[in-house]
Structures are given as C-alpha cells and as structure tokens.
C-alpha cells in the first residue's frame, strides 16, 4: 500500500476510532484515514451515493470494519462489499469487540481478510493494530477499476 492508499474506518464509537487512529500512527502508518460512524455512511461512500464524501476510482482503499453499529451493521456492509464485483477487491479487516466463533466464521465465509478482536488490554490492542499496520505494509492492495499495483511499502 502506498501513501496514497486511504484507510477507511467504520466505527460508531468515537473513542475506539481515536484509539485505532493513534495506534496506527504510532505504528508508522501515515495514510489518509477516513471515518464513518455507521454502516450506512460507509456504504454511501463506497457505492458513491448521498451527499458525503465519495469513493474515487483511482484510489486504493482498505476497510477497517466494526460489527456492532447502528442501522446497518458491519456484517451487512461486509456482505454488500464482497458481493460487489468491483468492491470485493478491497481488503476488509474486521476490528470488533465480538469474539464469538460463529461470528468470526461467518465473516471469514463472507470474505474478510483479517479478523481482529479489540482487546481491552491496551498493550494487546496496540499490538493488534500495529499488526494491521504491518499487514498494510505487505499486502498487495489492488487498485479498483485498474491494474493491480506493485507491493506498496509503508514508511
């Protein structure tokens, strides 16, 4: 992922978002970060609808998705994204409080790339997010509507 890649964080809890953002930055990720407060906002952005910010065709995206959100929950967002022939190329990282094995299995079946449980222990949390950062530095993020780009390196 190169520096132009945008990290989308769907997170209804402002505190969580702040913690995630800080951890990512501390892990050295300095990409642009966009926050959506619920599933609807996220979908509007991705499917280029509504009045808010909209996805741009030539940009790379990575989605961090919480599950328990008002209106449309993360699971539904994941399903819609993965059912769309274009959007399904976006890597999705589930970052949520739910550690129910069945939920985890469902997310994997729907096609999420990584599933991370938000640990309460701060160190663990930071570690988990750091790993996401690391992940971002090694995964090949395809450009939507275009040819895949070469492996991006963060830093």
């Amino acid at each position: 992922m190169n520096k132009e890649g945008v990290i989308l964080i769907a997170e209804d809890d402002e505190g969580h978002f702040e913690l995630i953002k800080r951890s990512l930055q501390r892990a050295g990720v300095c990409n642009e970060i966009l926050r959506f407060a619920d599933g609807q906002e996220t979908l509007d952005f991705l499917f280029v609808r509504g009045d808010g910010a909209k996805r741009e065709h030539d940009k790379e995206y990575l989605l961090l998705l919480d599950i328990r959100m008002p209106n449309i929950d993360g699971m539904e967002v994941l399903e819609k994204v993965k059912n769309d022939p274009e959007l399904k190329k976006i890597p999705v990282v589930m970052l949520t409080t739910t550690d129910d094995p069945r939920t985890i299995e469902r997310c994997h079946n729907l096609g999420c790339s990584v599933y991370i449980v938000k640990p309460v222990e701060y160190q663990d949390f930071a570690e988990a997010v750091r790993r996401v950062g690391l992940l971002l530095s090694v995964v090949e993020v395809p450009q939507i509507d275009g040819m895949p780009k070469s492996k991006g390196v963060v830093k």
């Binding site: 505190g15 969580h16 913690l19 328990r68 739910t98 550690d99 309460v120 222990e121 701060y122 949390f125």
Partner: protein, 602 residues
C-alpha cells in the same frame, strides 16, 4: 313195629299237615287277614292232636284212638282246602307287598315332594323328598295341618279350604314359600289335586311340591347382575355404548345421552350419530364403527374431537371393540370414550408455556450476549484512554525532568504526577481488566446455552485419559497422581462433557492440600440407568456452608489466592442441566472432595 297201611296213611296225613303248617307260617309272617290267622290256629291244633294220637297209638300199639282219628280224618279235605287257600293268599299277598314297596320307593324317591291331606287339611302321608326339603321327620309332619309348614299360613289354609270345597279348578299351580324346620324359607311350586273315594266323595288332597329356590336365586342374581351392570354403566363418567352393525344405538349410558343432548339414554336407542352430531363428525364416527365391524379389530384410545350440545369443542379418547355372538360373527360394536378435554387443554397450555419459556430463555440469552458485547465497547475506551493518559503522564514527567529543576517544582504537583495519577490509572486499568474478564465469563456461559448439543455414545475412559493428558503439565507441576479406574460409557456431547471433567479436574488441581502428595481418583458406578462418575481428591475440601454456593456464577472460594473467573463449576452445572445429568459434591474440609457427575448411561 310192622308195616301197616293205616299207619302209613296216618303218617302221610301228618306230613301233609306239617307242610300246610309251614306254608301257613310263612303266610303269618306276612300278616294275613285275621280270618286266615284263625284258620292257621285251627290247623295248628289239628296237627298237634293228630300227632299226639299217632304217638299214643304207636307207643302202646293200640287202636283205641282210631275213632278220634276218623273224626280228624273226616275233616282232612277241609284242612287241605285251608292249606291251599293259605298258599294262594300268600302268593297274592307277596305280589301286593312288592307292588307296595315299588310304589313307596317311587313315592319316596320322586324328585318332587308329595303329601296327602285329609278333609281337615291334616297331613296323612308325606314323601321323603319333602321331608328332606323341609328337614322334618315323618312323625313331626303327619297329622298336622299343612299350613303350619307354610310361611304364608293364611294363604295356604285358604287354598286348602277352597280346593276341598271344589272352588279351585284342577291343574292350577301355586307359588308358595314354605318354612323349614331350621326357620329358613323355601320357594316352591305347589300342584294340588283332589282325592276321591270309589263313590266319588272327596277324601282329601294330594299335593306335589317343587323346589324353585335355585331357579328363584338364579333369576334374582341375574336381575341383580343386570341392575349392577346398568348402574355401573349409567354412573360411569365415561361414555359407554353398544351399536348394531348399522351403527344404531342398542345400549347407551347417561354420559352418552348428556353429550348427545338427549334426556335419557333410551332416546338414543335405534338412532345413529347422524341424528345428533354435525354431518362431518357423524360421518367420521360411522366410518370408524364400520371399520371395526368389517375388520373385527379393536380401535384403541383414538383421540378425536367432538362438540357437546352447547357447541363447546371437546376431546375424547375412544376405544371401540367388535361385539360378537356365540358363533363369532360380529354383531355390532361396543364403545367406550373418555373426556380428555381437560388433559388436552393442559397439554396445550403446557406446550404454550414451553414455547413462552423457550422464547424467554432465548431472549435472556440474547440480552446476556448483546449486553456483554456492548459492555465491552466502553471498556475498550476506558482501558485505551487510561493508557493514553499514563503515556501522556510519562511524557510530561520526562519533559519536566529535563527542563525544570526538581526544586522548582511544587511538592504537591510532584506527588500528583509521580504517585496519585499513576495510582488512579492503575485502579482504573485493573478494574477494567477485571470487568472484562467477568464479561467474557458471562459471554462464555451464554454461548454455552446457544451451542447445539450433539448426543453420542461416549467412551469415558478414552475421554478422561484425553482430559488428563491435556493437563499433563499442571499435573506434573503439582506432583499429583491421577488414577482412572474402569469407567462405564455414557451418552452426551463429547466436547461439552470433556469440558465438564476438565473443569472439575482443574478445580481439583487448584485446591490441593500442600501438606501432602496430591491424589486424584476417578471411578464410577451405574445406578438406575445413570452412570455416576466420581472425581475424588485429597485436597483442602470445602466447608459445608460453601458447598451449595460453589456452583453459583462468579463464586470463588479464595479470590485472592487462586486465579479464575469463578465460572468453571457454573459451566459444569449448565452443561449437565442440558444433558439431563447432575453434579453434586461431598466434601469435608481437610479431607478432600468428591465431585459426582451423573449422565444417562445409554
């Protein structure tokens, strides 16, 4: 003595007289008429005289008595005539005697009683059958008025009087009750006929007595039985009915009548269900009846709906059996049906209750599940920002340390920065951690309620070996000997039952008595279709007052000393509840504990 033709003649006469005497003697024995007896005495005297004469003549060899002999001799033909008469009379008499005996035998041994009365109604003759019937001797009955032996004296006397007066036509038979000698009564049929002498005058009455007690008893007991049956049928709360092959009622009880809206069971007789029930129901009952009749087979406990006269919907459990005649042909059906409306209603209620309960339970589980999740979200913030704060504090601390001399810093601020804030943050963070572990415990428990149970046969020896193997490290660390005896199999969910024994063993290892080497023994027995397993340890034991609490959620015996969420045994109980199993403990402080687990053995 020389041979003398006269003497020889005399001798023959004497012999003939003797023969006549013997013949007469036999006649005597048969009690001849008095006239014949006189003749006999005369003959006796004649024979004796004759004999004496002969004796005298022979003894003294004289003929002096010849004249007397002549006189006697002149009488000889007449004597012979007597002898012949006596002989013939004897034969006639014997024949009469025999006939009389035969008659008497018949009379006495007749299967019915006989008695004869004189014109005063007194008994002149009675046979043995009647004597046996009444228990009297002949002497006790003869000469007494016949009505003295009746239980209805007046009636009996009137009948006798009327009969003697000729007011009762011949051939009539009366039912009477007689009284026995022992006081008991006897039902009889009495037939009476008049006795007349040769000239046609009424001489008395002869009666035949027929014992009808048995017949009366049979009739009575039949009537009683019928009454009993009828009372039983009528008072049965169940419907009882008999129908013919065309499904017409032959018998019905009150319950049937009430259900069908009739006032009495008789109203139903000869009618069919079609005249009482809605067409659809009647057709169904008719089809069932006909099926039983055609197949000749029982219909047992069929639960079927019906409606009572008020239109209320009811449920009945009906049994129908084919009714057969003595040759085995089906002549109809007999039906019994019981009102099970209340039971049905209770079943429905129960089902409804179970549904509600299941729903409530589901609701509870989901509340628990959602709550534990949503409660974790704020905790993430508390922890996260707590750490952010302590990080900020560290930054401030190091920044101040470098740039400001310690002396310049207010002592109070220093205390706050060095001690108060880190301490406060420490409490906040550890509480959040604790809260998180409680929540994840709750979550695990609620997940257990949602997990499906796959019941299968379990090889418990293999399972317990697995469980101990997975805990090998702790077992070795604690220096504990684990002894598993031969265990009977049981049925349950493999992973959940594994969890049960893991938790119990984990507990045993956690609460060892450090003063002695740890010993854990696992054994079992089968009781009432349940396999009962026991995990026995020689650890610290549990005081009586704690024993019931150890299965409660979050209950921990030594929260400060031992790690854990206080959920292990709660989970054990929860799992066993879902397996129709049980868990209980027997323990004494200082002597160790026995944890029992019962599971269905098949």
């Amino acid at each position: 003595m020389h041979p003398d033709p006269v003497a020889a003649f005399d001798l023959i006469t004497l012999l003939a007289s003797a023969v006549g005497l013997i013949v007469m003697l036999r006649g005597w024995k048969r009690a001849l008429e008095p006239k014949a007896k006189l003749v006999f005495l005369g003959l006796l005297v004649f024979t004796l005289c004759y004999g004496v004469c002969l004796f005298v003549e022979w003894s003294w060899d004289t003929r002096a008595l010849d004249r007397i002999e002549d006189v006697i001799g002149a009488l000889l033909p007449m004597w012979w005539a007597f002898v012949i008469y006596a002989f013939l009379a004897g034969i006639v008499e014997q024949e009469l005697r025999e006939r009389e005996t035969r008659f008497q035998e018949l009379y006495d041994e007749a299967p019915i009683g006989y008695h004869e009365l004189d014109t005063e109604g007194r008994i002149t003759r009675v046979n043995r059958t009647e004597l046996d019937m009444l228990g009297y001797t002949a002497e006790e009955m003869l000469g007494r008025p016949v009505w003295e032996f009746s239980a209805e004296k007046e009636k009996s006397r009137d009948t006798v009087t009327d009969k003697l007066a000729g007011d009762i036509p011949p051939g009539r038979i009366f039912e009477r009750t007689l009284r026995r000698k022992d006081g008991s009564t006897l039902g009889v049929l009495v037939g009476i006929r008049l006795l007349r002498d040769e000239s046609g005058h009424i001489r008395g009455i002869r009666s035949t007595i027929q014992d009808i007690t048995k017949r009366k008893q049979a009739e009575e007991s039949l009537a009683q039985e019928r009454n009993l049956l009828r009372t039983l049928i009528d008072n049965m709360p169940d419907n009882i009915y008999v129908k013919d092959t065309k499904s017409r009622f032959i018998v019905a009880n009150m319950a049937v009548a009430r259900l069908m809206g009739a006032t009495t069971p008789n109203e139903l007789l000869g009618k069919t269900d079609f005249e009482f029930y809605p067409q659809e129901l009647a057709a169904k009952y008719y089809a069932d009846d006909q099926n039983v009749i055609k197949m000749g087979q029982l219909l047992v406990g069929q639960e079927e709906p019906t409606v009572d006269p008020e239109g209320n919907r009811k449920w009945y459990s009906t049994t129908k059996a084919p009714l057969r005649d003595s040759r085995g042909n089906v002549t109809g059906i007999i039906g019994i049906s019981r009102d099970i409306t209340a039971r049905k209603r209770a079943e429905d209620d129960r089902e409804h209750l179970m549904e509600t309960l299941a729903l409530k339970n589901e609701e509870l589980e989901s509340v628990l599940y959602v709550t534990s999740h949503d409660l974790r979200a704020p905790l993430v913030n508390i922890q996260g920002f707590g750490n952010e704060l302590s990080r900020s504090c560290d930054l401030i601390h190091s920044a101040l340390k470098d740039k400001v001399k310690s002396a310049d810093m207010n002592g109070e601020v220093r205390t706050v920065l060095n001690k108060d804030v880190p301490e406060a943050l420490g409490f906040i963070l550890s509480s959040a951690t604790r809260m998180d572990s409680l929540l994840s415990g709750l979550l695990r428990l609620s997940r257990l309620g949602q997990a499906a149970v796959h019941i299968e046969p379990l090889d418990m020896n293999a399972m317990l070996t697995d469980v101990t193997k997975s805990m090998e490290y702790q077992v070795k660390e604690a220096g504990v000997t684990v002894d598993i005896e031969l265990l009977p199999p049981s049925v349950g969910d493999a992973s959940q039952i594994n969890q049960v024994f893991s938790n119990i063993l984990d507990n045993a290892l956690k609460y060892l008595d450090e003063s002695q080497p740890g010993m854990i023994r696992i054994y079992a027995k089968i009781e009432d279709g349940q396999s009962i397993y026991c995990v026995e340890d020689n650890g610290v034991g549990i005081a009586g007052e704690h024993q019931s609490k150890i299965f409660e959620i979050f209950h921990r015996l030594e929260p400060d000393r031992k790690s854990g969420e206080g959920l292990g045994l709660t989970i054990v109980r929860h799992i066993l509840d879902r397996h129709n199993g049980k868990v209980w403990v027997e323990s004494e402080p200082g002597k160790g504990s026995k944890f029992f687990v019962s599971l269905p053995s098949v």
